[in-house]
């Protein structure tokens, strides 16, 4: 089987994985990358404590870091894709230096650039995000490829001290778009209103 076909056979499905992640961490503050992970999170249910990106590619993990440092008592869950993370790989080194115990990065890895026509990403050729994060110094790193891995590692992702990164290999599939609010000021203001004391 060549690289192009391989991820079409992966057993885990992205919408179910993302829903289970959110259900396992109902109190978490959520940042998503642009594109499919934003649609996945919205398909599971829009919430003011979710900040989905529509652009700023490569920025999701670093937004998560700034939030995790500002809110050390709350769990911060970044759900992003392989293509989005590839554009900001240096951020893994920056996160590892800060060592935020409350930060979880879930990489929904279908080995494709979904929004541009499902072209292969570097992970289709073997680039391993968990190995990169481990090398950077993340506290816990996992590669999840099937339901057994998922059942084993989900409780750890939901509760163990981080920084954690899980690469979750999911099937390459084109799914219906489920769009979150698009206005950036609205997304920012509702997020702050949901988690911060009222401004005086």
């Amino acid at each position: 089987m060549n690289n192009l076909q391989r991820s079409e056979q992966y057993p885990l499905r992205r919408r179910a994985v993302v829903k289970q992640l959110l259900d396992a961490m109902p109190e978490a503050l959520v940042i998503t990358g642009l594109g499919a992970t934003a649609w996945d999170v919205t398909a599971a249910g829009d919430s003011p404590r979710q900040f989905p990106l529509w652009g700023a590619m490569g920025g999701a993990a670093m937004i998560g870091l700034g939030l995790a440092l500002a809110q050390p008592q709350r769990r911060v869950l970044v759900i992003t894709g392989d293509g989005e993370l590839l554009m900001g790989l240096g951020g893994l080194a920056t996160i590892a230096v800060q060592r935020p115990a409350n930060l979880v990065l879930a990489v929904i890895d279908n080995e494709r650039y979904g929004e541009t026509g499902m072209q292969l990403t570097h992970s289709a050729y073997g680039v391993d995000f968990a190995a990169i994060a481990r090398g950077a110094g993340f506290e816990r790193c996992f590669s999840i490829a099937d339901n057994t891995d998922w059942a084993t590692h989900l409780p750890t992702l939901a509760s163990a001290d981080g920084p954690l990164l899980a690469t979750i290999k999911v099937r390459a599939e084109v799914l219906p778009l489920v769009l979150p609010p698009k206005d950036g000021v609205t997304l920012k203001d509702r997020f702050r209103a949901a988690i911060l004391p009222a401004e005086t």
Binding site: W54, A56, G59, G66, G90, G91, T94, V97, G184
Partner: protein, 172 residues
Amino acid sequence: MSNAAWPDTIFEQLLAHHVQQVAYVPDAGHSQLIERCRAHADMITVPLTTEEEGVALLGGAWLGGQRGVLLMQSSGVGNCINMLSLTRVCRFPLLMLVTMRGQWGEFNPWQIPMGQSSEAVLQLANVLTYPVEHGEDMAATVDAAARIVFNGPSAAAVLISQRLIGAKTFGK
């Protein structure tokens, strides 16, 4: 005020404006300020691998209720451009303190293109710019920029002249 004191006046302004996250790419011009921030118990200092990480980081900081600053040199301005769309679309506050290269007595010609275009590039990206030529103007300029940034919210960059910092000479 002597020129050598301007990093201390910036530090005092950052404290006065309750800046808590200090993101930076190491820079000779900012070295004294970075050390003061690192030594302060209530500031979180975040060394970056590239400047656009700081733009995203400080957006996250604001989502979580904290103010931040991005310390960088002018060669990093171009690295930030697409990430500044996050700042603009979401109207995040962003305070950038930029030490200039390629501007005044520069030894290294490779610094000149980005140094010469930094202010125009920032303005195109909707970032207000405040050049500072003299140390005695530093406190008032950083204060004014921080007020515009955090009261807006807006994005603003204080451009610290290479004449004030002193050009790196490579021993020549």
